[in-house]
């Protein structure tokens, strides 16, 4: 029998494309939220892994407990029998679609909640400290949170980590694809939300605040509240991304959440794509994830020749790529565009409506004319 045909070095194109979509969507959620914080609100969040880790670990911990409670499974779901219990629960959930959907919803909600709580805690340094102090504190905070998860066993059994049941077991052999589509759906929703947000009056306020804080305060904008809200929104989104990753991968382990993978790579994607440009960030994320996945899928060709782990070459490659981008094209692939304005026909339509109302009730025109923000 002939060996499977490897086109462009990839043997299993289905698995490659599914994995590409899953990680592109997952990272898109993180990079869009990072872009909201860093690109629009001007908060350099060097602790992105913190919210992701919190969402992923706590949602995994709650998910298996909730599943065990709903299904009346015996034993400690995050103890030593964890993997047996998780496997049994997967079998039980296979025929119970409503329970599976409910558990997915619970997991995502817990991820968002924990992300939000961590975001709320980070407000205190984020609105007070200069960017360099903030970066050191968030980097340190994320590292400590990882140590906490690895040593405090009630959450995810310490450094051993826990497995969670497969909530897409009812989809049979399509379960990975179903989880991927869930991530992709959420990523699309986040993208649309972020795009609408930055085109709204609030989006223009954010840019004004980032470019000249004193001037926007002089115009009556409450920069502290706005910055706080954006940080919480972005943290909730990142927390949900963590929960989605736990659902997708089926386990959670403190060692997964290192700052290179979940803080540095997202920063690289945002800078590569273009700070303060959602479409640019999407392109940057895709380019990066495509490279990463392609290297991961083909690196075993090199592995036999080289006397070291090929993964290290990714570190060299992407670290250098970031520095080169910063030097050669600091604005990224797509530049930040000026605020979107209404088209001429829409403006004349609104003017026409206003004029029509003016003829009927002259008294209400003043309210209509007032700017929305």
């Amino acid at each position: 029998m002939l060996p499977p045909l490897a086109i462009l070095g990839i043997v299993n194109w289905n698995a490659f494309l599914t994995s590409l979509l899953a990680f592109f969507a997952l990272y898109l959620i993180i990079t869009i939220s990072l872009n909201l914080e860093m690109g629009y609100a001007g908060i350099p969040n060097f602790g992105k892994v913190l919210y992701f880790m919190g969402g992923a670990a706590f949602s995994g911990s709650v998910a298996i407990r909730a599943a065990a409670w709903i299904m009346h499974a015996r034993g400690d779901p995050v103890g030593l029998d964890n993997f047996i219990i998780a496997a049994n629960l997967t079998t039980m959930l296979q025929s119970d679609i409503p329970a599976s959907v409910l558990l997915i919803a619970i997991t995502m909600a817990i991820g968002g909640l924990i992300g939000g709580i961590l975001g709320y805690i980070s407000i205190f340094p984020a609105i007070r400290l200069r960017e360099d102090y903030l970066a050191m504190l968030l980097l340190g905070g994320a590292a400590f949170f990882q140590i906490f998860l690895a040593n405090y066993s009630p959450i995810i059994n310490g450094s051993l980590g826990i497995g969670i049941p497969n909530f897409f077991a009812w989809a049979g052999s399509y379960s990975t694809l179903a989880a991927t589509l869930l991530i992709a759906g959420f990523a699309l929703a986040v993208y649309v939300y972020a795009e609408r947000l930055v085109r709204s009056p609030l989006g223009r306020t954010l840019r004004a605040m980032r470019d000249n804080e004193a001037a926007s305060e002089a115009l009556g904008k409450d920069t502290v509240t706005i910055r706080r809200n954006i940080l919480i929104i972005a943290s909730v989104i990142t927390g949900v991304a963590g929960a989605l990753y736990t659902i997708y991968s089926g386990d959670t382990n403190p060692a997964i959440y290192d700052r290179v993978t979940w803080t540095f790579w997202p920063w690289l994607m945002v800078i590569l794509g273009g700070v303060a440009s959602n479409s640019g960030v999407a392109i940057g994320t895709f380019v990066f994830i495509f490279l990463l996945e392609y290297i991961d899928a083909t690196k075993y060709y090199l592995q036999n020749i080289l006397p070291f782990d090929v993964t290290w070459l990714e570190y060299l490659l992407f670290g250098t790529l970031l520095i080169v981008v910063l030097m050669v094209r600091p604005q990224g692939i797509l530049k930040e565009k000026p605020s979107a304005t209404l088209s001429k026909s829409e403006v004349s339509g609104i003017m026409g409506r206003l004029r029509g109302k003016k003829d009927e009730k002259p008294g209400t025109v003043g309210q209509e004319d007032a700017p929305a923000q």
């Binding site: 400590f144 070291f308 970031l322 910063l326 030097m327």
Partner: protein, 317 residues
Amino acid sequence: MNIGCHGIPALPPYVISAVVYGSLFALMSVSLTLTYITTKVPNFAQGALVTAGLYTGFALLSINKINPYESLPLSFLVGGLIAIGIYLIVLRPLSRRGAPIISLMIATLAVDIIFVGIFGIYSDYLYQVKKVYDAKLFFALTTADFSLFGVNGVVYAAPIALALITLSLYLVLTKTRFGIAMRATVDNPNLARIVGVNTEVVYVTSWFIAGGLAAIAGVFYSFWQGGEPDIGSILLISMFAGSILGGLKSIYGAVVGGLVVGSSEIVITTLGAQYIGAWVTPYQPGIPLLVMVITLLVIPGGITSLDWRRLLQRGKK
């Protein structure tokens, strides 16, 4: 360690450990502060300089059988040259292009990631090609240390090195033309350039010294604790905590800050394990974070920003 019978007053082992740790983190904090006062960027690649020194010592010991104390100057040189490279290749071109501080910070983080890769490759190479089987997690330096009065040599070497380095930095900064030029550059680079100071020489020299100090701190660290490829990122928070406590502006502040952070890590963890429970021990990395938070809440400018004379007078009243 049986210390009492050798004539030295019997100190609990954790006090000795606290002194060594304090000296090491003081060295690292001085190094970090030196890079911060010159380029005004927190250098997230500082851990890489520590790891560079540590692996230079380790490789020379395990392949060439050179004692790490003898290869200390070479470790200093390696760390210093890497630091100059980071400054000249990455930071200077970026800041000349007018990159904002966030870009410079993320660039140093990128440098750190590159070095994670380099040390990963190097330790794999030592393991697979040179057949050094403890290259990924080694304690070879701990056993290669000499012993004096029943304690390891590094117990004397680290505090003595710290004292000598602080003294010589003090002498250089106050008594030499170069030191005066350096202080002028740190205070106001434009004014210094106008009066004829070659600020580039000052920057490059500061980075060289900073890299060298980080590297020898790394060698001393592996005399006490052993080493691994990603040790730098583990130590990074403690370095930052020491520098922030010292105010990120003053070298002497960094010495005190590093001593406080390093020794409190050991003392608090040991006493905590004794009186609260053994579960406290793994949370040792939380102490520098706590120091950082408390410093930023209470004295954001660090200990050197305090007016000690006024505080003492208030205390007397």
